[in-house]
């Protein structure tokens, strides 16, 4: 077991109930139930609805993962669970289930950071992480640039959004354009199906003055408002809104800033690798632009496949397995769920 620990990972920080099983860097099972459809009509995730769904999905997902991996739970080396950051009530369901699993089986428990898990999951796809990398994590809840020297111990924040998360901006603009929730995939599709980058929307925190204080930070609130102003002005004049063009132009503004700052972070820290994770990493334009810009500076981009970019249990298991392999200390039975867990805390 020393080199390839068998670990169960549980993830409930938002609206996905994920239970994954990995052995070292090999993915054995990744069971996911999502309550996204229950939230769609509210235009965003409703915490109590998500928490209720986690309770109902938890045991079925544990059973599905164990069957898929074809392993007896008795044989696992440890249980890992997202302890934060995320929705407090939602996290608590996963943390309680993980404790129940660990104490029933007599196995160690690791309460881990959701953001570190988004970085660690890339090991399942592309093998061990390099000694130093920059991670760009972008989802409906997070937009962060991290310097990762050791995903089990040394994760430093370089920057983060100062207002909306990137995925949140996608959701809000989608709603404005009459596209369904979650907005990311719908905007991506609209842009790909005949959208042209015709509108010059603002790039937040990219002026020289802003860069002095917020070199690696993001802001998407002003962009969202600029898009809303443009669309409403069109509507007031009784003109049709070119949805595909607005989607493409908005998406370009987001991806431009994300990739520009991510590459700048790699150059500033001497990192030769950029890992991208989170739901927005599934965006086709983000992937293309990141590859293009990184290649100019001999920086390698690592993006896991979309199913591993969005929230899942396998990413938690991947980090857990690495923690066991490195002999890190497990968590105590009174492990709390911490909705605002700092990125510097890998294991709580």
């Amino acid at each position: 077991m020393a080199d390839d620990p068998l670990v169960v990972g549980i993830e409930t920080s938002c609206d996905e109930t994920g239970v994954g099983i990995v052995q070292g860097n090999t993915l054995l099972a990744d069971a996911i139930a999502s309550s996204v459809e229950e939230h769609a009509r509210f235009g965003g995730v409703v915490p109590e609805v998500a928490s209720r769904a986690h309770l109902e999905a938890m045991v079925p997902m544990i059973e599905r993962a164990s069957a898929e991996a074809d392993v007896a739970l008795d044989d696992v080396d440890a249980i890992a669970v997202t302890a934060g950051p995320g929705l407090a009530g939602a996290l608590l369901v996963g943390v309680a289930a993980a404790k129940a699993l660990a104490l029933s089986l007599g196995k160690p428990l690791y309460g881990v950071n959701h953001l570190s898990a988004h970085v660690a999951v890339d090991q399942l796809e592309h093998g061990p992480l390099p000694e130093r990398c920059v991670a760009l994590l972008v989802s409906g809840g997070h937009s962060s640039l991290l310097l990762v020297d050791d995903v089990t111990a040394a994760v430093e924040p370089l920057g983060a959004t100062i207002d909306d998360a990137a995925g949140e901006a996608f959701d809000k603009v989608a709603r404005l354009l009459g596209l369904p929730f979650p907005g990311g995939p719908h905007i991506d599709n609209a842009a790909r199906e005949g959208g042209h980058i015709t509108l010059d929307f603002p790039r937040g925190l990219t002026s020289n003055r802003d860069l002095e204080r917020h070199r690696f930070d993001f802001s998407f609130s002003g962009l969202k408002t600029a898009v809303a102003r443009w669309v409403e002005a069109r509507e007031q004049r009784g003109e049709p809104v070119p949805v595909a063009d607005v989607a493409a132009s908005f998406q370009e503004a987001v991806c431009d800033v994300l990739t520009r700052k991510a590459v700048d972070a790699c150059r500033a820290t001497g990192a030769g690798h950029l890992v991208i994770g989170g739901g927005v990493a599934a965006n086709s334009r983000l992937r293309v632009l990141a590859e293009e810009r990184a290649a100019r500076h001999q920086i390698k981009v690592r993006v896991p496949r979309p199913a591993l970019c969005t929230d899942n249990g396998a990413m938690v298991a991947a980090l857990g397995s690495e923690l066991v392999r490195r002999g890190r200390e497990p968590s105590a039975w009174d492990l709390p769920a911490d909705s605002s867990m700092p990125v510097t805390t890998v294991v709580a």
Partner: protein, 208 residues
């Protein structure tokens, strides 16, 4: 070997019952830390009884009604332990657990704190048999001049002038109730009694 616990109130209470009596127990009152306190409480109660999880043959959990977040901690713990250990899991209305501890010879009510100036409550006859379905209501609606147990009776004396013990459910009572086959068993489903607080989004505000 039965493991019983309840997280539907501010009390996080655990007991182990060997078929004839309670052989280990643990309880803490703290309204905001159910997620932190339950697992250590289970470990402590099992240790006190010198019982390992593998020796358990049944799990029973209080299914509320109670504040959602804490309630779910107990229910997901019970369901997960049951699934992993391969033992049956049953639920009991948490108001019934409070009722077990009431020592009066007349009809009474149990009223627990539902927050938002409301109580979760039910009526019981002199023998402790529940007469009404658990409900959530303003204290004035549930008001009763006779004996009233539970934290709600302590919080709202104008509606419940004769507060009696116990204030919180005790897992030892829960374990004894199930051990003696006197419990009204339920599936391990939460009695939420309230819908989630959600509203469909209002029309978008203009930015012009």
């Amino acid at each position: 070997m039965l493991l019983a616990f309840d997280t539907s109130t501010a009390a996080v209470t655990v007991a182990v019952h060997d078929g004839s009596s309670v052989v280990g127990s643990h309880a803490v009152v703290d309204p905001l830390r159910h997620g932190e306190l339950l697992a250590p409480g289970i470990v402590a109660a099992l240790d006190a009884a010198s019982v390992s999880p593998r020796q358990l043959t049944r799990i029973v959990v209080g299914v509320g009604p109670g504040p959602f977040t804490g309630l779910r901690v107990g229910i997901v713990t019970a369901r997960t332990m049951g699934a992993v250990l391969g033992v049956p899991v049953v639920g009991v209305c948490s108001l019934d657990v409070v009722a077990v501890g009431v020592a009066v010879d007349e009809p009474f009510v149990v009223a627990t704190d539902a927050r938002r100036k409301e109580v979760y409550w039910a009526r019981y006859d002199a023998s402790g048999t529940r007469l009404s379905e658990p409900a959530v209501a303003k204290p004035s609606t549930a008001a009763f001049d006779g004996p009233a147990a539970g934290r709600g009776a302590v919080l709202y004396p104008e509606s419940f002038p004769r507060a009696v013990a116990p204030e919180y459910p005790d897992a030892s009572d829960l374990a004894r109730l199930v051990g003696a086959q006197r419990a009204r068993l339920l599936p391990p489903e939460p009695l939420y009694l309230r819908r989630p607080d959600v509203a469909a989004p209002a029309a978008r505000k203009s930015v012009l």
